[in-house]
């Protein structure tokens, strides 16, 4: 059985979906072929949360780690798109939560782990504690022909990409061909999804304007605790499920209160995502997984 076949069979959380590019190009290309790989996106773990929306918050992250470790083939890398910890006013408690989070994800088999902060991690101290544990809040890396750009739209409590970072982004993009395959990873949506719920980046339009000349850009983000897909012209945006509690569908109710915990279906609405990537065709295929490892 090929890996893709396995994914289709085992993705209890919703099956595989082509996210961008020429979907047909990915079929028939073996996993081991040059330029093909996959990574895992985990998001919004909110370590330290205590509340009725997830009475099992103390073990959910560990279950997710176990689920990722149980994958028959391990990803090239794992990316956490923010809100690693739940916010606290106490700087010592914030560092304690970051310490525990780092220890738990230390059990992941894959050692290539990359992260960005969410507002719960970084907004109250402008990323000071986060940087002590995980380094820069925005950066780039290249992997098998794809240029990855990790953006920080949370260290400023206003939920924006500050001017220094925006200049850095433009300088980085200026070095790239307009056809270069680019993946942007961020916490908050870069478009106005639901402004009345603060599901936006205040200057997201500036970021998108910088990205717009590039023809092969795909954005993965978190923040909204559910899978969602959106297009800004030719640029797709894909949000991931959370690993703490699901939130209501965008704009579906007055308040963005967490969906109630269902004791009959624990962890419902939580999960993580695998992303199959093909640099040559700029094809991404997502497979959604539940928190609990399939047997």
């Amino acid at each position: 059985m090929q890996r893709r076949d396995f994914l289709t069979l085992s993705a209890l959380g919703g099956g595989a979906v082509f996210l961008s590019g020429l979907a047909g190009c990915a079929h028939g290309s073996g996993y081991a072929s040059e330029g093909s790989f996959y990574f895992v996106q985990l998001s919004d773990t909110h370590w330290g949360y205590k509340g009725p929306a997830n009475p099992d918050a103390g073990v959910t992250l560990r279950k997710a780690v176990a689920a990722v470790n149980a994958l028959p083939e391990q990803p090239d890398f794992i990316f956490f798109t923010g809100d690693l910890t739940h916010t606290t006013d106490d700087p010592d408690e914030r560092r304690r939560r970051l310490t525990e989070f780092k220890s738990i994800i230390g059990d992941l088999k894959v050692r290539n782990i990359r992260l960005i902060p969410g507002e719960h991690d970084a907004s109250l101290d402008r990323g000071t504690a986060y940087k002590e544990f995980f380094g820069d809040t925005y950066y780039t890396f290249d992997h098998k022909g794809i240029h990855f750009i990790a953006l920080d739209n949370v260290s400023d409590p206003g939920g924006l990409v500050d001017e220094e970072q925006l200049a850095w982004l433009k300088a980085d993009l200026a070095k790239l061909d307009k056809q270069a395959p680019i993946v942007v990873l961020t916490h908050r949506p870069l478009f106005d999804l639901v402004p009345k719920w603060d599901w936006a980046t205040r200057n997201g339009a500036d970021v998108m304007a910088a990205l717009m000349p590039y023809q092969n850009v795909t954005v993965f983000y978190g923040h909204i605790h559910q899978e969602h897909h959106h297009m800004t012209a030719h640029i797709p945006h894909h949000s991931a499920k959370s690993l703490i509690f699901p939130l209501p569908a965008p704009g579906s109710q007055d308040k963005r209160t967490p969906l109630p915990w269902d004791a009959a279906h624990p962890y419902q609405g939580l999960g993580f995502r695998e992303v199959d990537a093909e640099a040559a065709s700029h094809t991404f295929k997502a497979t959604e997984f539940p928190v609990v490892a399939s047997s």
Binding site: D89, E119, L124, G159, W197, D198, R202, K255
Partner: protein
């Protein structure tokens, strides 16, 4: 729903930082510490002022009844944090500096619900810090 408001510019934000009114001011009176628009506001009997406070994690009041077409001034005092006042449907947002009164003029044109929220992350209850104008005909 067609709504109208006076959105705040960078200049308005500066005005707020200086603890002055955000309504229609020009640079000259701002520097002089005297606002012509502020005086106009005070002289206008039609312009009702609504006093508000912003404090983690609540606006007071949270629900504000308005009449369609009524011009009002929101006079908002933040008590503890640089909260944000964002009214997406009116294209209005401003930082609320602690200890200062920030004034925002709005004039909803039609009945309906207009949401507002704090859009500066202020802590564990930030997601609950919002309110709404209930605009009647």
């Amino acid at each position: 729903m067609k709504l109208r408001a006076k959105p705040l510019s960078r200049r308005a934000t500066l005005q707020c930082m200086l603890g002055l009114t955000s309504i229609g001011m020009t640079a000259a009176p701002l520097l002089a510490g005297l606002s012509q628009a502020q005086a106009q506001t005070q002289d206008s009997p039609a312009l009702r002022q609504i006093d508000m406070t912003a404090q983690r994690f609540k606006f007071t009041p949270e629900e504000i009844p308005l009449k369609a077409g009524e011009r009002v001034v929101l006079a908002i005092k933040s008590l503890d944090f640089i909260h944000g006042m964002h009214i997406p449907d009116l294209g209005v947002r401003v930082d609320l500096l602690p200890g200062q009164i920030t004034r925002i003029e709005i004039q909803p044109q039609h009945s309906g619900i207009i949401d507002f929220l704090c859009d500066n992350f202020c802590g564990g209850g930030h997601e609950d810090m919002h309110g709404r104008f209930i605009v009647s005909a």
